[in-house]
Assembly symmetry: C2
Homo-oligomer: 197 residues x 2
DNA sequence: CTCATGAGTTACCGAAGGGTAACCGATCGT
DNA sequence: ACGATCGGTTACCCTTCGGTAACTCATGAG
């Protein structure tokens, strides 16, 4: 399985691609640099020509995948008419991404990264970005702390649903899920609003 | 810091207590058996007199903590009048538990366990139990698959909110959070119901 | 007093794995 | 044709860490 020679850039990208697979399947600690090298059809030192360390490679991966996810959602929500539509499109983009990128989802939210302080911050950054966006849509009379908590809760709502969908293995219709979830979220928020005012 | 001699049972329990701390703080792979032994004021072989392996110790921990969480929730919800009340009490019990057990929360949901297949199943078991309980409360006209997905979403809702609360470090009023969250969940579900029927 | 019980220690093994030094050989510009 | 470049390999080091064999020593029963 010896791969042909590649240019530095191509090899770097290939390593990243392969690493998503390996880390996604087995987690950070369950994957050795040898595993990745082998999967890339190459030997270990090659990895170190492109990345300073295992942690560095993983960081680069989280960054790339996380950025892509956020961009996907951002792109889908820019030209929405109102908050309601923005919410639904945001969820649709998110679930669509999950449906097409099981391994990436596992990488980000499967857990390996959540704990180890070093990477936890990076995952939090993504969560935070999503939550902040959602918090901006919450037109509800709540003190900021509660609003933040609810926003994170809604991010968790999407994450929890996705975990189940990905875990089940079957494919699913992201738009349909998004409709139900955003319906739930939106109506839920209105109810909280009514009770509070 | 040499501890006095303890009976086998007491030592075993102390190890479990100490291990929650260590694993909760640094994760499964970030914690060595030596770390735990040292924190317990004892040497490594003592750990192996009580647990077959590191994995075994961790399993026992997840089991104990998970069972306690589920029991707490179960106890709080048994004598509820209707679904609505059951939901609110369930969330209140959950958030109360989180408020008092930051490290346990991190242990279960901080992520270390989610990935590694061996422990992932155990965490899933807990999630599943919670989701099943919630699914039973969802009196909504949805096909079972969607109902399951929503139930997992609601579990994620609580998890996401908790993650933010625990991460912020400040203390919070679990009952207040529970009121808002269950208000959101309940009204959200009703809305989904209305649209679907 | 003494001896069995069992909690606890010291000192070690072996494997895994991150990381590196030194070398190789295909390719391409001149 | 030739030499510099650079993608790639072999072989290795060294630390960490899970796990264990063999010993020590306090304690309580008789």
């Amino acid at each position: 399985m010896s791969s042909p020679r590649l240019t530095a850039d191509a090899r770097r990208q290939q390593i990243l691609d392969v690493a998503i697979d390996e880390f996604g399947r087995s987690g950070y600690f369950g994957t050795s640099m040898n595993d990745i090298a082998e999967a890339a059809g190459v030997t270990k030192p090659v990895l170190y020509q492109h990345f300073d360390s295992k942690a560095d490679l993983y960081r680069a991966l989280l960054d790339e995948v996380g950025t892509r996810l956020l961009e996907t959602i951002a792109k889908a929500t820019t030209d929405a008419a109102d908050g309601r539509e923005r919410t639904e499109r945001g969820f649709a983009a998110y679930f669509g991404w999950v449906a097409d990128h099981h391994l990436e989802f596992t990488l980000l939210f499967g857990g390996s990264a959540r704990q180890e302080g070093e990477f936890a911050a990076q995952i939090r950054r993504i969560n935070e970005a999503a939550a902040t966006a959602i918090a901006g849509l919450i037109d509800v009379d709540l003190d900021p702390a509660h609003r933040e908590t609810i926003a994170h809760g809604l991010v968790g709502l999407a994450e929890g649903a996705s975990r189940r969908l990905v875990g089940a293995g079957e494919s699913f219709d992201p738009d349909e899920i998004a409709r139900v979830v955003s319906q739930l979220a939106w109506a839920g928020l209105r109810a909280v609003d009514r009770e509070r005012r």
